[in-house]
């Protein structure tokens, strides 16, 4: 019993330590222009995984609204601007800020905030239509870094 409790505490401590390396959504430091200078995880983003997140409906689904010419995802939307050449228009810190919370740059944008967990009206528990408990951000810190890494490859 004691040994079980101890090892459970140890596991809890270890996972806390792992999470603690990520910058929590409420602790993200945006500069005056909505950019984030510091990596959210300290781990380099993986562009291939970033593309997967962008194309996957249950993940970022960025292509729902944005077109990416080199992506083979079906039915790319056009609510937002094309992301072709996006790396020529924004630097890495700006891209990180836009993916995490584009409203820091464009207050009225339709684009959801992918790394923010408060300030919502009637937030729901995913797509159940029921009230939310504690919210998770739409993307994890590492997924943000992965998406940013992929976006940096989109230069013309």
């Amino acid at each position: 019993m004691t040994r079980f409790a101890l090892s459970a505490t140890l596991v809890a401590l270890m996972s806390t330590a792992a999470v603690a390396e990520d910058v929590a959504p409420s602790d993200v430091a945006y500069d005056d222009y909505g950019a984030i200078a510091q990596s959210l995880t300290g781990v380099a983003g993986d562009p291939a995984e970033g593309l997967r997140v962008m194309e996957t409906r249950s993940a970022g689904n960025c292509v729902a609204c944005h077109q990416v010419s080199v992506s083979t995802a079906a039915f790319q939307g056009n609510v937002g601007p094309s992301l072709d050449g996006v790396a020529d228009r924004w630097d890495v810190d700006q891209l990180r800020g836009l993916v995490a919370n584009a409203k820091m740059v464009f207050p009225d944008t339709v684009m959801p905030s992918f790394y923010r967990v408060s300030g919502y009206i009637r937030p729901g528990d995913a797509f159940t239509g029921k009230a939310a408990g504690e919210l998770s951000p739409l993307l994890t810190a590492q997924q943000i870094e992965d998406v940013v890494a992929y976006l940096q490859t989109l230069s013309e």
Partner: protein
């Protein structure tokens, strides 16, 4: 940095000009059964002068030729099975008072002509705004002594479809002033509220982005003149509030219940954005 920002804003402005051009109204006209002319595009009502929309468009305009065709002949429109069920229900005695709808209202084709076009509307006696579904249930419970229909289930949509058919081709003409003004204003506020973790309002998609695509979804103006609507993906009739609930759920929000005061208000407001289009229900949508 500022230069980059300005350039991007300019690019976004260009993008929205392009998307207006892509609203994809090909000018096709809807005539049902070769005789009922449906107004699918009309000047926006005066209360929409600040919305940036000058022409209101039926959802029919945004659909594929195949889907459009299904609505052009009642023999092809799968909703007409429900209309037949509605006729049966109209003539069926139910409840403790020994009445059917026909007992009081007689021939549905005469008594219900024009009714759908003016709902939701103020009910003086009850002192409230009533949707068509709300009025149907009031008749059932207070006049017939029968059980209310479930607000968005098939008995209700069948009766709504039957009543809507009697107004097809007539202009939607929902009152927004007088005793309904407060409810209408509440509906307008809901329309522009950005709900849920995705922070999307009705307006974000259906006012700012109609004609654009969210993945395979071709965004319409969200008009409800065609409700109840037969959705091919549901293989059944969908009630207005059911659609509202689904939309708000999809913003990752805690949604409102069908028949709730919020959705009654929203229905009044959204219906009024269609003033001038024809009653089209029961329509067919993907």
């Amino acid at each position: 940095m500022r230069k980059v920002l300005q350039r991007t804003v300019a690019a976004m402005a260009l993008g929205s000009i392009a998307s207006i051009a892509m609203a994809q109204d090909d000018g096709a006209d809807l005539v049902i059964n070769g005789e009922i002319e449906i107004t699918v595009r009309a000047p926006a009502p005066a209360h929409m002068s600040d919305t940036g929309i000058d022409t209101i468009l039926s959802g029919w305009v945004f659909r594929s030729d195949e889907t459009r065709q299904l609505e052009m002949d009642d023999f092809d429109n799968p909703a007409f099975l429900a209309v037949d069920r509605g006729i049966e229900a109209w003539n069926t005695v139910e409840g403790t008072e020994g009445k059917s709808c026909a007992t009081c209202h007689g021939d549905v084709e005469e008594s219900m002509a024009g009714v759908r076009a003016v709902y939701p509307r103020w009910n003086e006696e009850a002192g409230e705004v009533r949707t068509l579904a709300g009025q149907i249930n009031d008749c059932r419970t207070n006049q017939m002594g029968a059980d209310a229909y479930a607000y968005d289930k098939s008995d209700m949509t069948a009766m709504e479809a039957l009543i809507s058919v009697q107004s097809r081709g007539m202009p939607v003409n929902v009152a927004i002033e007088g005793p309904v003004a407060e409810t209408w204003a509440q509906g307008q506020e809901l329309y522009y509220t950005r709900f849920g973790q995705l922070e999307l309002s009705c307006a974000n998609c259906h006012e700012q982005n109609y004609g654009n695509y969210i993945r395979a979804d071709h965004l319409s103006q969200g008009q409800i003149n065609g409700f109840p609507t037969y959705r091919l993906k549901n293989a059944g009739l969908v009630q207005t509030h059911n659609r509202f609930r689904g939309c708000i759920r999809d913003t990752r929000a805690e949604t409102f219940a069908v028949g709730s005061p919020e959705f009654v208000a929203l229905e009044l407001y959204v219906a009024s954005r269609g003033n001038g289009l024809s009653v089209e229900g029961p329509s067919v949508r993907p």
